[in-house]
């Protein structure tokens, strides 16, 4: 790992494509992260918060009825049971603790639908660190409850009125804030994206998922699974569960959002399947696959799952896809919805629409035998946040 941190790249992907003013902050962060990542005191404290605050380990649940329906033995990694309702807190707890160790006094973050922002607010409150979250003004209206949740936990939500008033504008604004306040402020990125060391650091913090799965599946099956399936937006829940298995004979499927079809126009994509259909580019500080037009302008992506709705993807995933170690695939909105209903009805588990994309892929792929006999699906979050969306679709179809 030390090895890896020294390099800022995964093959040709990754790097640090940021304004000069941020470079020293990235260097400092890299240095500090390197200092603490294997520090026993830091890790003991992080483990403590993961266990007592976040509720880890999350179970690995053998979904008998879903297995029967889909025709393959399915285990669900229950990140939906983590405090806050998603895997997001694994990362924000790690970064918040690092913020404290670095002696910084303030956390900033960007958020789209509000999941990462909520996880930041939780971690910020738990550690008593001032937290400010940038959020597109449009998103603050669409996701009113998440705004309220953050505010309840003492975070300040700053509506961003520039541009399209959505996630990408929030990212831009958060970066600007960081540029202006690097000395006191840690910028908390919510996925394995952005400039080095974020993709490595966020992956490491999320790897607790895969590490638990290793022990749990050994306990239950006496062997590793044939396949692991995870939805992929930025890619943090995917890298979190994949990473500990990279060196093993386990197939890794990264399921992206197929949206309403794999088409793009000059300005927008009907999907968010960056690994499947993106091209090499540089976005938000890293060289990676990007949804872009022929000139390199970034496209508006689209998905029924707000958390997958992003035009980039983590550089390590782009690298692993290129070398064939992970298999990019995708599920469409309608397929994700059907899988969502399956899991609710058959198992009494309401998954996030993001996670439903992974379930939907297993539904499609099980028959061909390509998944093998034993599959682990990462249920990256719970779906309570998505009820309005699902209800809306149901009404539309009436």
């Amino acid at each position: 790992m030390k090895q890896e941190l020294k390099s800022t790249k995964f093959g040709k992907y990754g790097g640090q494509f940021v304004p000069e003013v941020l470079m020293p902050a990235l260097e400092e962060l890299t240095e500090q992260y390197e200092k603490y990542k294997d520090d026993p005191v830091f890790n003991e404290e992080l483990d403590y918060y993961l266990r007592d605050f976040a509720g880890r380990p999350s179970p690995l649940y053998h979904a008998k009825r879903l297995s029967k329906e889909y025709g393959v033995k399915i285990y669900l990694k229950r990140e939906d049971l983590v405090h806050g309702g998603a895997h997001k807190l694994n990362n924000t707890l790690g970064q918040a603790l690092l913020t404290r160790y670095m002696g910084k006094k303030r956390i900033i973050a960007e958020t789209g639908a509000g999941q990462h922002g909520t996880a930041c607010a939780m971690a910020g409150a738990a550690f008593g660190i001032k937290t400010e979250v940038y959020m597109g003004a449009k998103d603050t209206v669409r996701q009113r409850m998440n705004v309220y949740r953050m505010e309840l936990m003492g975070a300040k939500v700053i509506p961003v009125k520039s541009g399209s008033q959505t996630l990408k504008d929030a990212i831009n604004e958060a970066m600007r804030d960081w540029v202006a306040n690097v000395e006191t402020t840690h910028y908390m990125i919510g996925s394995v994206v952005g400039p080095h060391p974020y993709p490595v650091m966020v992956r490491d913090f999320q790897s607790v998922i895969g590490k638990e799965v290793r022990a749990q599946i050994m306990d239950k099956e006496g062997r590793f699974p044939d396949s692991i399936v995870a939805c992929t937006g930025g890619g943090s829940n995917a890298m979190g569960i994949f990473h500990p298995f990279i060196g093993d004979d386990v197939q890794l499927f990264a399921v992206e959002a197929g949206g309403t079809g794999m088409k793009t126009t000059d300005k927008e994509a009907l999907h968010s399947a960056t690994l499947c259909a993106g091209e090499e580019g540089v976005l938000h500080g890293a060289r990676t696959k990007v949804l872009q037009n022929k000139y390199g302008q970034i496209l508006e992506s689209s998905s029924i799952a707000a958390g997958l709705d992003y035009a980039g993807v983590g550089p390590e995933l782009a690298y692993l896809a290129d070398i064939g170690r992970i298999k990019p695939c995708n599920s469409m909105d309608t397929e994700a919805l059907a899988a969502f209903h399956d899991l609710c009805r058959l198992e009494g588990i309401i998954p996030a629409l993001e996670s439903s994309h992974a379930v939907a892929f297993v539904k499609k792929a099980a028959a061909s035998g390509e998944l093998g006999d034993v599959v682990v699906i990462n249920i990256s979050g719970r779906g309570d946040k998505d009820l309005e969306t699902v209800l809306g679709v149901r009404h539309e179809n009436k």
């Binding site: 800022t8 790097g15 640090q16 494509f17 940021v18 304004p19 000069e20 003013v21 470079m23 020293p24 902050a25 260097e27 520039s162 541009g163 990408k168 990212i171 831009n172 970066m175 600007r176 540029v179 202006a180 306040n181 690097v182 000395e183 091209e279 090499e280 580019g281 540089v282 976005l283 938000h284 500080g285 060289r287 990007v290 872009q292 022929k294 000139y295 390199g296 302008q297 970034i298």
Partner: protein, 261 residues
Amino acid sequence: MKISEKFNELKNKKEGALIAYICAGDPTPEATKEYVTALVRGGADIIELGLPFSDPVADGPTIQAGIERALNAGMTPDTYFKTVGSLKVHIPLVVMTYYNLIFKRGLPKFVKDCAASGISGIIVPDLPAEESVELAGFCKKYDIDLIFLVAPTTTESRMERILVRRTGFIYLVARLGVTGARADIAGSTRELIERVKTTTPKAVGFGISNGKQAADIIRAGADGVIVGSAFVDIIANGKDAAGKLEALAKELKDGIRAAHG
């Protein structure tokens, strides 16, 4: 015209440089031609012409709005080079854009297009020295300057790394933060100018909007002043933009001249 020639010419006149930024295509390619002429008439020594990118993380709201207007009006890299190629000005032109547009066009083609359309320098705010080796190679080949930024946060070791690669001029970021007109000039500017030990010209940008500030910057030891948001603000307002651009350029240039007086 090469950037170094311009600075030499100004040095001989004991004058600081006024480097003016506007975004190409804001609000139309035609207007850009008119505005560039106005800026030159007002006294601009170098024009930095933004090539608009959809996700301009290093720019403040003012310039971001200009970029959006340009994009909505259909500005593309193709149109950009055509527009620049047709400009009839006899001062150095610099393209300012984000790395993805360069990357997507292909580094050699982008640099070649710059050369062909009369561009003398390239500024890429999201391309730090570490990632610039490849682009620098092509710039050298086509004799185009690749201009780097240094900031108050830049450490000594980074400073060295940057100065090794410097061409054209050094872009000093006057204060932490992003582009945007502000009322005062940070005390850290003088300190930063002193820290950048090189004979290559130093131009200071970020937050300069009037002649008095421009004069202060030059007095602090800078070789040039970079002004962007204040010009873009005028364009955003619309009414008699060309006249006002010329007037502001004149005020700034007068300030710069006064500093040496």
